[in-house]
């Protein structure tokens, strides 16, 4: 199969020998030239969604302008092109995660849908009353609620691994919770509310020691750290396109082929079947068995372009740059009087949650917004985490590799303005 040429993705490839050039990277993101309330946009809400490089925008435009057709069925030229581009994106995702084969990559709408798919299609048929599903105390709602639903359906019980005051998983408690009734472990790789990187390798190892399969929620990890699903040996891995500099509405579920093959379809419809009669329907092979209906073709191809862009820079370099920026931000923001950082794990990524003494997070957000600074305020869809720290809401600045030290300085200046307003 010849790959459809998407040559733009290649032009951004940076020589690993050349130091990471943030100013050059910023040129690739047109939205960073926008202004908010008359001020230069300082976008620090990357954990909610990331901005899109020009190559992704161009890929989407080109797809709709020159390649649009339905896939996997057309006999015509365009359909063939669209199918090749879409399947090319699947192969790119497989390489990105170091999956053994592209058929282990299921395109879904989002991380949320990926978790729901595994909960309903893998776990539900296997869970008996009294069985246990283990999650952590720092999961996003999307890795809590699907398991609560499946527990309600089956009589299984949800067990929650606690976190310590720094926001780190208490590994001994996890070990203790893994018991004879544990049937599944679903764990976050990087916490969206705290930035904590969980010890995923150890988590998988311990679960596998008891024959328990593991799903990792990689929504925040995949855009920030190199991920190798074969080295981790996780059974399922999920992430979203839009947090990884790709389009919204497209997500990825990685699953080990034998597991995916043994699972019943999640939804019924076109594309997921081999033949249909009113007596019997034969399901398609993986991954198509899980992709009922016309998928988000443009989204898949756009995600492929985003991944091409990210690997062009290199996830190691991205992680290293963000790590340096986080250290700077932690020091600068932490030095503002009245600031309490929430989430101080030793191993963390560029997510900075904090509260300002005497000021509600929402007021912090409004004042920073007037300065052109976009942060997230509230519970970050992780209410149990905030309950753990006894705060109703936090302000969260989440970094990307296109953020700069000057932007952190702007954030700090904004925080001083917050304190002045509420002095």
């Amino acid at each position: 199969m010849t790959t459809i040429g998407h040559p733009i993705a290649e032009t951004v490839r940076q020589d690993p020998a050349i130091p990471f050039d943030v100013e050059r990277v910023r040129q690739d993101f047109p939205i960073l030239r926008e202004r908010a309330h008359g001020k230069p946009l300082v976008y620090l809400d990357n954990a909610a969604t990331s901005q899109k490089p020009q190559v992704v925008i161009d890929t989407l435009t080109r797809y709709y302008r020159a390649e649009n057709a339905n896939i996997h069925r057309g006999i015509h030229y365009l359909s063939e092109r669209a199918t090749e581009a879409y399947e090319g994106a699947r192969a790119a995702v497989a390489r990105f995660l170091n999956a053994a084969e592209p058929r282990e990559i299921v395109f879904v709408r989002s991380t949320t849908e990926a978790v729901n798919l595994v909960a309903q299609s893998y776990a539900r048929p296997r869970l008996q009353p009294g069985d246990e599903v283990v999650i952590s105390a720092m999961e996003h709602h999307s890795n809590i609620v699907p398991w609560q639903i499946v527990c309600e359906q089956t009589g299984a019980v949800l067990r929650v691994v606690p976190i310590n005051d720094a926001g780190e998983l208490v590994l001994e408690e996890y070990e203790r919770l893994l018991g004879p009734r544990t049937r599944f472990v679903a764990m976050v790789h990087v916490s969206n509310a705290l930035g904590t990187i969980t010890p995923v390798r150890r988590i998988v190892e311990l679960a596998h020691g008891r024959g328990v399969p593991v799903l990792l929620d990689g929504a925040q990890a995949a855009p920030r750290l190199p991920v190798d699903v074969r080295a981790l040996d996780c059974d399922f891995y999920a992430f979203s396109g839009h947090k990884a500099y790709g389009p919204t509405g497209i997500g990825v579920l990685y699953g080990k082929a034998p597991l995916l093959e043994a699972m019943p379809p999640y939804q019924g419809g076109g594309d997921m079947i081999l033949s249909v009669s009113f007596e019997k329907t034969l399901y398609n092979v993986i991954p198509f068995k899980f992709e009922a209906g016309t998928p988000h073709i443009a989204g898949g191809i756009g995600l492929g372009a985003a991944i091409g862009y990210l690997t062009g820079i290199g996830l190691e370099r991205i992680a290293a740059y963000e790590h340096g920026l986080l250290a700077y931000a932690t020091e600068r923001v932490g030095a503002v009087p009245g600031i309490r950082l929430i989430g101080t794990a030793k191993e963390k990524t560029g997510i900075l949650s904090f509260v300002v003494k005497g000021v509600h997070a929402h007021d912090v957000g409004t004042i920073l917004d007037q300065e052109g600074i976009a942060i997230r305020t509230g519970h970050h869809c992780a209410q149990p985490v905030l309950q753990r720290f006894g705060v109703p809401a936090t302000a969260r600045a989440s970094l990307a590799f296109y953020n700069t030290r000057a932007e952190i300085d702007a954030l700090v200046a904004g925080l001083h303005k917050v304190r002045e307003t509420f002095a």
């Binding site: 000021v359 509600h360 997070a361 929402h362 007021d363 409004t366 004042i367 007037q370 305020t377 509230g378 519970h379 109703p392 809401a393 307003t421 509420f422």
Partner: protein, 150 residues
């Protein structure tokens, strides 16, 4: 910056810092809970109503400066008012924070509540300002159910 100063007026900052009627009312015969899921604002309202008049009123909860000040000023302004008068104030307040400056009329007619006129420039904060008022309505209607801004 002027928008911001209009949002966080001195009256609002004062009522945020020192909220009035910030207490649980033992003799309350009406209560209601309000919740703004977007930012986690949460308010419990206690109302003592007799012969259609709001005799006493108190609130508890946590929230942003706007919602806290709004609850403080709302409770201060409806105390001693009849149910109908409170309803009128609700409508006038709602109109002030949701409609264009020209159409909203003279905010001074609302007394201290006029401090919230700047909220209209911040559409996502309107819910913070109106949450206590919606909760008041729920309490007066005696439905006893949780109101939500969503």
């Amino acid at each position: 910056m002027s928008d911001l100063r209009e949002l966080y007026q001195q009256v609002i900052l004062d009522h945020n810092k020192n909220p009035r009627n910030f207490r649980r009312l033992e003799g309350a015969n009406r209560t209601a809970e309000g919740h703004n899921p977007l930012c986690g604002d949460q308010i419990t309202l206690y109302v003592q109503i007799q012969d259609d008049v709001i005799g006493d009123i108190g609130f508890q909860g946590s929230g942003c400066a706007i919602s806290r000040a709004a609850a403080s000023l709302m409770t201060s302004s409806v105390k001693g008012k009849t149910r109908a008068e409170a309803e009128d104030l609700f409508h006038a307040f709602h109109k002030m924070v949701t409609t264009e400056r020209e159409a909203a009329g003279d905010p001074r007619a609302l007394g201290k509540l006029a401090a919230f006129s700047g909220v209209r420039e911040f559409p996502i904060r309107v819910k913070c300002a109106t949450l206590p008022w919606h909760t008041l309505r729920a309490a007066l209607e005696g439905k006893g159910q949780k109101v939500s801004t969503e």
